[in-house]
């Protein structure tokens, strides 16, 4: 028990308030000099005065990084002492941060870990508008709806791809086919069947084949390239046909030419119906999406019963301000509350039930509470980013970010980042696991599947994009928090206004989240792949 008298208190108090009178100051010094017990109490009292500066309850380490970054923009070289000094200048000063960057060891990251990219350019010559029932020849080279592609070769075993070239020309390719995109004005058809529709703005669009060169003069035409023979037919308008060793020919609507070896003959009749049209493709596409949706829905029911689930929100449309936990194993009520976030179409465009949440408005979020203690974390979600507006763009964030709680988010550099808090203050270690870049503005509006697996047992942390492992790191014992927790948390945002401070960080992700799985398990690479394959639109 304290032995301080009221007078002693007053002396120390006024000293701390810097309001002590000269007379009292003298008294204080005298007492300190003479009385060892009082000196001891004085040290305790002054220590308390210094401890109180330390944030007691709501540490916001991520914010600290941001602040450090703002204050120390150019000190990349002097790394360690600077990092300490920088963190200390925020009083709490108790924070030593680590980051593990892709393929490198752990790094201190109080200083911006991200290389400066002056301008990120969207790259590509064309966009894949639709992929319908495609089987790709090479499993490692597959493409999805909405994807921008540059100089690349599409190899289809079967199925149909609709390409929109940036010049305005649109090309429907039917497999089996092999097609190079060479520029936004030019392609090469090695084999297969295609129909090109070229608006006036794209006059001069050109497709080459092994035997011919077709330059469009504003039209719609078809090409069929086989092993031995090629045919070129014009449905509308006019093209220039340049064939090897032959004079250039002008071909008009209703005309066609077949090339076999080096000889050519005019086609007597052209079969426009054998080349698929945009309208027909739309119907096929719709049917194929519907089909995939139903397959996914079946699997979704299976996942919902997985005993390893912590929670599962698939955001299927319902008319209420709540999101239903689809998981069936929890005894707790894990219903989420929608705040400002909007129900929008998900990755199954046009399918009535297929909903997602949009977190465009600042402050928008879905609040959940997931009690319990866990051994592992797997987070998996379909995400559509419109732009990365914030320094940190939230996917799933534990509210208070205490020991063992996760923060899953995307940094403005386009890297996926997971961190799990290791210590409580004052030892505030935590580690940030940075994936390589998984997003750039060329992917605006495209759905992608992101997953992160945190396995303290195998000491392994992994990030996945579209079912593929993109990053793996060892969880060092030093950073291993042991038991994992979530508690109150948010999807799509972070930053509860704290008790006395109404200012909150903006972390809402400018985009949509469609389906998020949170599991107390370290899903295998194959399981992640399956979730992606079944769920991809």
């Amino acid at each position: 028990m304290s032995n301080l008298s009221d007078e002693d208190f007053e002396l120390l108090e006024s000293y701390c308030n810097e309001s002590i009178s000269d007379e009292d100051l003298e008294k204080l010094e005298q007492k300190l000099l003479e009385d060892p017990e009082f000196r001891k109490e004085a040290r305790s009292f002054l220590s308390m005065d210094s401890f109180m500066q330390m944030d007691q309850e709501m540490p916001i380490p991520m914010d600290l990084i941001e602040k450090v970054k703002v204050e120390k923009p150019s000190q990349k070289s002097l790394f360690w002492p600077m990092a300490i000094a920088a963190s200390i200048s925020f009083v709490a000063g108790i924070l030593v941060l680590y980051a593990i960057n892709a393929n490198k060891g752990p790094q201190v990251t109080s200083i911006d870990p991200i290389e400066n990219e002056s301008e990120i350019k969207a790259s590509g010559f064309a966009v894949i508008d639709k992929v319908v029932n495609v089987e790709w020849a090479d499993k490692d080279k597959t493409y999805v709806n909405g994807q921008a592609i540059g100089q690349e070769t599409l190899k289809l075993k079967s199925g149909i791809v609709h390409l929109e070239f940036f010049c305005g020309a649109s090309v429907i390719i039917e497999g089996p086919a092999e097609f190079d995109i060479n520029s936004s004005w030019q392609g090469f058809c090695h084999k297969g069947k295609l129909r090109a529709n070229v608006p006036p703005a794209a006059h001069g669009f050109r497709i080459d084949t092994p035997k011919n060169k077709i330059i469009d003069l504003g039209t719609e035409f078809g090409i069929n390239v086989g092993e031995e023979e090629e045919s070129v037919v014009v449905f509308d308008g006019e093209i220039e046909l340049h064939s090897k060793g032959k004079d250039m020919k002008l071909l008009t609507a209703g005309k066609g030419i077949k090339t076999i070896g080096t000889s050519q003959e005019n086609l007597k009749a052209i079969d426009a119906e054998s080349f698929i049209k945009t309208e027909g493709l739309n119907d096929l596409h719709k049917a194929s999406v519907q089909n995939k949706y139903l397959k996914w829905k079946n699997m979704s029911k299976k996942w919902a019963q997985d005993p390893r689930l912590i929670a599962y929100y698939n955001f299927e449309h319902e008319n209420s301000p709540f999101v239903h936990n689809n998981g069936t194993n929890s005894k707790n009520n894990l219903t989420g509350k929608i705040i400002r976030a909007e129900r929008v179409d998900g990755r199954w465009n046009n399918i009535e039930d297929g909903g997602a949440m949009e977190f465009k408005k600042p402050g928008s979020r879905v609040r959940v509470n997931l009690p319990g203690e866990f051994q592992y974390f797997t987070f998996a979600a379909w995400v559509r980013i419109d732009s990365l507006d914030r320094d940190w763009n939230a996917l799933f964030m534990g509210d208070s970010y205490q020991i063992g709680e996760p923060h899953w988010q995307i940094h403005k550099s386009g890297k996926l980042v997971l961190c799990v808090r290791k210590y409580d203050r004052p030892k505030d270690y935590h580690v940030l696991y940075w994936s390589p870049k998984i997003w750039d503005p060329s992917q605006t509006g495209q759905w992608m599947h992101l997953a992160s697996v945190y396995d303290p047992v195998k000491k392994e942390m992994k990030h996945f994009k579209n079912g593929e492992l993109v990053y793996r790191a060892e969880i060092e014992d030093f950073f291993n928090p042991g038991k994992l927790r979530i508690g109150p948390a948010e999807i799509g945002n972070w930053g509860q206004p704290t008790r006395t401070d109404p200012v909150f960080a903006l972390r809402n992700i400018n985009g949509r989240i469609d389906e998020i799985l949170i599991m107390d398990a370290a899903l295998t690479n194959e399981e992640i792949k399956e979730i992606y394959e079944v769920g991809k639109p």
Binding site: M1, S2, F9, E13, Y15, C16, N17, E18, S19, I20, L25, E29, L32, L33, P36, R39, K40, A42, R43, S44, F45, L46, S47, M48, D49, S50, F51, M52, Q53, M54, D55, Q56, E57, F79, W80, P81, I84, A85, I88, V91, A92, G93, I94, L95, V96, Y98, G105, P106, Q107, V108, I111, P113, P426, K427, D428, Y429, F478, R499, T500, D501
Partner: protein, 174 residues
């Protein structure tokens, strides 16, 4: 950026574990929290620079206290005009004795964290505003439409309560 080696890791671990104690030690030697922080910043850089020469099998805190004490002395000399600076004899006694109290400091810090939770909301938020958000008492008084002295009275009451709570807890555990 460079890789962290084992030594850096050790340093981080030791440093972050003991930082509150170092700060508290400096606080007992210097007139204000602000001064203590300034010196802590110096100290952290120095101990990192000298960490190569530190034998990890020996007492880290003792080593740090010696450095901290020296830096605090330098700082005192620079700011000797502040009337709140203790005289040299008091300074030496506080430093000598303070160096022996590392464990007591960590017990106090732990107790404080518990005690903070027992405070009524308005007192907690006052601590938060003054200590963590660093709002000047004058500004806060103006905002709250009260006087500085009545604000200090509230602060005093709060600190007193906290202090008693800390001492009580430590006694209980001891």
């Amino acid at each position: 950026m460079e890789y962290l080696d084992k030594r850096q890791e050790t340093f981080i671990e030791l440093y972050s574990k003991h930082e509150p104690q170092i700060l508290a030690f400096l606080r007992s030697l210097l007139p204000t929290n602000h001064d203590a922080e300034e010196v802590l910043q110096e100290v952290s850089v120095i101990i990192w620079k000298k960490f190569d020469r530190f034998d990890v099998s020996t007492d880290f805190m003792r080593w740090v206290y010696v450095i901290a004490r020296l830096e605090a002395l330098k700082y005192r000399r620079k700011h000797a005009r502040s009337r709140l600076v203790f005289d040299d004899k008091v300074y030496a006694l506080m430093a000598d004795e303070g160096m022996e109290e590392s464990e007591l400091r960590s017990a106090e810090l732990k107790a404080l964290q518990t005690c903070m939770k027992t405070l009524p909301e308005n007192q907690r938020s006052l601590i938060d505003t003054i200590y963590q958000q660093k709002t000047k008492a004058v500004d806060l008084a103006e905002k709250m439409k009260t006087t500085v002295s009545s604000l200090y009275m509230k602060l005093t009451r709060t600190r007193k309560a906290l202090y008693k709570c800390i001492k009580q807890r430590i006694e209980k555990e001891a």
